[in-house]
């Protein structure tokens, strides 16, 4: 603190250029720059230590582990790319990858559509609008485990309320637990329940930025409700859609809580996704090298998607 005050002193005599690093004499500017760096990095230090130790270090470590064959706590043996080669011929891995892609392909568009629909509804004239909005976003407060357990309760194929309701309208018992397709549908439905609120909030913020005059002039030009939605609302919430697309794809690729608790990847491998498969390998069968390799694939897919997004989105400057 005292040293700070001393180095700071010359700056006080030149209040005209307060924070720009471009002092007139080179020596003074070098001291100044050093001082600025010391200040800046002192503020950053706690963040850099946490992120460095608990994110970057494990990332590098994970890469190294993925070249090793390990079980349990030992370091194991260096096996080069053997884990990655094994992935190529592992049907469980391919099934998990395909399920992850399918899950994403279902959850992302459905949750975006539902979110936008709810947002449009909540942005219109409606009695008790605040209450309705609260109810739609309330699932966000529920933990993933509780959400998944409620899902288990509702979709229990013997005692669950879902089958009783379906039975009441004449649809016979759906095998939510023993049937692969039905189980997959149930985890998608539960995920949608959990995610719609977030999407609605982001869309609602986007909608409130649209000027009412736009709708007014479109109406004067004879545009109907659908046309106004299609040609004003949809393009105007483009930046929100872009942001939500990225967030939801990343979320879907990393889905864990709901599937792990609801189905644990079953029945068979019908709902197994990359993360539950990596968890199974890393912590059940304790093949940590192999699990790390699966993690690296997940990382590559995420990075590739993010890069694609940034490359091909014209609206990327809006989410800098």
């Amino acid at each position: 603190m005292t040293q700070e005050a001393r180095v700071r002193a010359p700056a006080e005599s030149r209040p005209a250029s307060p924070s720009s690093g471009e002092g007139p004499s080179p020596r003074r500017s070098r001291t100044r720059r050093l001082h600025d760096a010391v200040t800046g990095y002192s503020f950053l230090a706690p963040n850099l230590v946490l992120i460095g130790v608990f994110l970057f270090l494990p990332l590098v470590w994970a890469l190294l582990i993925s070249f090793r064959e390990t079980n349990g706590f030992g370091d194991g043996d260096f096996v080069g790319l053997a884990n990655y080669q094994r992935l190529l011929s592992d049907p469980a891995f391919w099934r998990s990858l395909a399920n992850t892609v399918l899950f994403t392909a279902l959850v992302v568009p459905l949750s975006l559509l539902a979110g936008l629909g709810c947002a449009v509804l909540m942005n219109s004239v409606l009695p008790a609008r605040g209450l309705f909005r609260t109810l739609i976003i309330l699932p966000m407060a529920i933990s993933g485990v509780a959400t998944a357990l409620i899902g288990v309760l509702v979709f229990d194929q013997n005692t669950g309320i879902a089958n009783k309701l379906l039975g009441a309208i004449g649809i016979s018992q759906v095998p939510w637990q023993s049937g692969g397709t039905a189980a997959f549908i149930s985890v998608v439905l539960v995920t949608l329940w959990w995610r719609i609120g977030f999407n609605m909030i982001i869309y609602l913020a986007g909608l409130q930025g649209i000027s009412p005059e736009l709708y007014e002039s479109a109406r004067l030009d004879g545009a109907g409700p659908w046309q106004r939605f299609r040609f004003i609302t949809v393009p105007m919430v483009g930046p929100s859609t872009f942001f939500l697309l990225v967030m939801n794809v990343i979320y879907s690729f990393q889905v864990f809580d709901i599937i792990f608790v609801m189905t644990n990847g079953g029945p068979g491998r019908a709902t197994s996704v990359l993360v539950t498969y990596a968890y199974e390998r890393g912590f059940s069968t304790r093949e940590q090298g192999y699990a790390a390799a699966i993690g690296m694939v997940l990382l590559l897919v995420t990075l590739a998607f993010t890069a694609l997004q940034w490359r091909y989105s014209r609206t990327r400057d809006l989410v800098e």
Partner: protein
């Protein structure tokens, strides 16, 4: 967030039908979304026989507190609650402090390497936690904190999300304010504590609430980092409880209800801050 409605005019021209349809849609959507929570509450307060009945019952016919008794008599539910409170409190204080400090540096200070370090920090938001979960596990084991609170707290606090949120907020503070303080002879630390922090109350509120919510509900990492039953947080305890009861859902739902109640209350009370926090995370 709760601004006045932009009254769309179809309502003005056909007030009856449009409004009724919208209300109907809203009731349907809210009803469908609330029904699982309603069912959780019903099952939590119903005897086991109710659930096993084969006919369709949408409301409870009898009321019991047995399920809650079964939870409290057989499981350290209060300990789990205490663990959740302690871990959430420490993670939140850490995350908010670290994020404010870093956010200020990224937003208002100029120094060499700032942008590179910011991008590196930001890039960790794209990093799936599950990619590093194996090596994180080995890291906390090597650090000797495996099986303690710290094994959960430290990796959870290592998050770039709060830093990003703080930077986006603090960058909006007019630099004239900070320059004026600097002219008065204040150093960066005094400016941070005396000028920036008092202006950051909405940010601190949103950041605190979002961190509390996500830490309270966190699952994957605590599942791995906590080995002893007595250290479990509520979500881990809930899963453990379900493992014991299986398809006897009453007790599980009773505990599920108790474990989500604090966050539901918090969410309802501070809804505006949550919504603004989420919205701000997406749109600068």
């Amino acid at each position: 967030m709760t601004t006045a409605p932009h009254a769309p005019t179809p309502a003005r021209r056909r007030p009856g039908r449009g409004a009724a349809l919208r209300l109907l849609a809203a009731v349907l959507v809210a009803g469908v979304l609330m029904s699982p929570l309603y069912w959780m509450v019903v099952v939590a307060f119903s005897p086991r026989a109710e659930l096993l009945a084969t006919d369709l019952r949408l409301w409870p016919r009898s009321f019991t507190l047995d399920n809650f008794d079964r939870v409290f008599s057989g499981f350290p539910a209060i300990t789990w609650l205490g663990n959740s409170v302690a871990i959430t409190a420490v993670v939140t204080v850490l995350t908010v402090s670290v994020s404010l400090l870093a956010g200020y540096a990224f937003a208002q200070l100029r120094f060499r390497g700032r942008n590179v370090v910011f991008l590196l920090t930001l890039s960790t938001m794209m990093l799936p936690v599950q990619v590093i979960i194996v090596s994180q596990f080995r890291l906390v084991t090597d650090l000797g904190i495996y099986g303690t609170y710290w094994a959960v707290i430290l990796p959870t606090a290592a998050s770039a999300f709060g830093v990003f949120l703080a930077r986006q907020f603090i960058i909006g503070i007019p630099s004239e304010l900070l320059d004026a303080a600097r002219v008065d002879g204040a150093g960066s630390f005094r400016i941070f504590f005396q000028v920036v922090l008092p202006l950051c109350k909405p940010l601190i509120a949103a950041l605190t609430l979002l961190t509390v919510l996500s830490t309270w509900n966190d699952f994957a990492w605590p599942l791995i980092a906590l080995k002893e039953n007595s250290l479990y947080t509520l979500p881990i305890g809930l899963l453990y409880l379900q493992g014991q009861f299986g398809s006897d859902y009453g007790a599980t739902m009773a505990f599920a209800l108790l474990s989500v109640l604090p966050m539901v209350v918090l969410f309802l009370v501070f809804q505006r801050h949550f919504v603004q926090g989420f919205a701000r995370s997406g749109i600068r």
